[in-house]
Symmetry: C2
Subunit: 166 residues, 2 copies
Amino acid sequence: MTDADPIKTPLTLDDGVDFAIIEHLFFAYRDFTADPDAILDEYGFGRAHHRVLHFVNRLPGLTVAELLEVLRITKQSLARVLKQLIDDGYIVQIPGPRDRRQRELYPTQKGRDLALALALPQSRRIRAALEEAEPGDSAAVERFLRAMVNPELRAQMDKLPNGRSK
Amino acid sequence: MTDADPIKTPLTLDDGVDFAIIEHLFFAYRDFTADPDAILDEYGFGRAHHRVLHFVNRLPGLTVAELLEVLRITKQSLARVLKQLIDDGYIVQIPGPRDRRQRELYPTQKGRDLALALALPQSRRIRAALEEAEPGDSAAVERFLRAMVNPELRAQMDKLPNGRSK
DNA sequence: GAAATTATGTCAGCCTTATTGACATAATTT
DNA sequence: AAATTATGTCAATAAGGCTGACATAATTTC
């Protein structure tokens, strides 16, 4: 009986849980993804296309298998999205030079342009958020977000180019 | 012709976009949601159930309309998820005292327990991430995440109980 | 050189979470 | 009494995942 009774007091920070950051992450991520979502809509693409396009631009020449590992989705899930991006001329496949079974994935100029257009509002939002911040906050945020990732997956992040790499 | 050519240089920070934080957010949020997702699976629930259960626990007595506004989904999307949570005894509906058309939503003890169980690994992850951090980083992270939210939606966040309440 | 393994592609079917539009009911407001 | 409001429900659709099965070509192994 008592188990079906309504509980009228809210869960609060007193319950030993950091609801503030949990909820801040939820709302921040929602608005963060809303920017590119609006653009993608105009192209008939979704968030899945964005992720593929993004990583192909950040790691040009990566293979299908490598992409699957970064995205942690199945081959069949990737197939539909990747096929569209190729058919529409945003990404091209080139047989691997060593192993000709592999398909190296590269963006076209069209794909590069769209990737940048999608990243721009996100970068703008981040810059605006950091303008209201104290100096050093940027590094703190990056450290925190990195520490939120499973340790065994941090190596993946380190593979991404982080600076002037011609 | 040139438009279909592969581009072999990666997008880097030089392109004027803060890819570091963009990607850190992506990876951090993915692992952050993986924790509760694993628990929800055992109950036959998904992420949608989590969100409903969370906000009903944080704002007990909120109405269906209020919940729709927080979640920004449609009535029809909420219906299925909410019905399951009610049928399974995690949430109860009580006719609004003023307006008997309204249904106030409250968690049961079972619903309170599950909400806490879902929040715990997330809170643990946050605590662990902050242990490696400098003092003051926690506040910096919270400020940053808040600034990432659309200004007009920040008011919604302020409605959530943030401290010792009763 | 034959056999096994690997990288990729593709087909078919299913699930979850979201959407829109339409309509029903009960309660409140005008 | 009529209009509006809060909620519930039905039907159809879409995106983005999933699994399992099978095909093909290229490489590796024996």
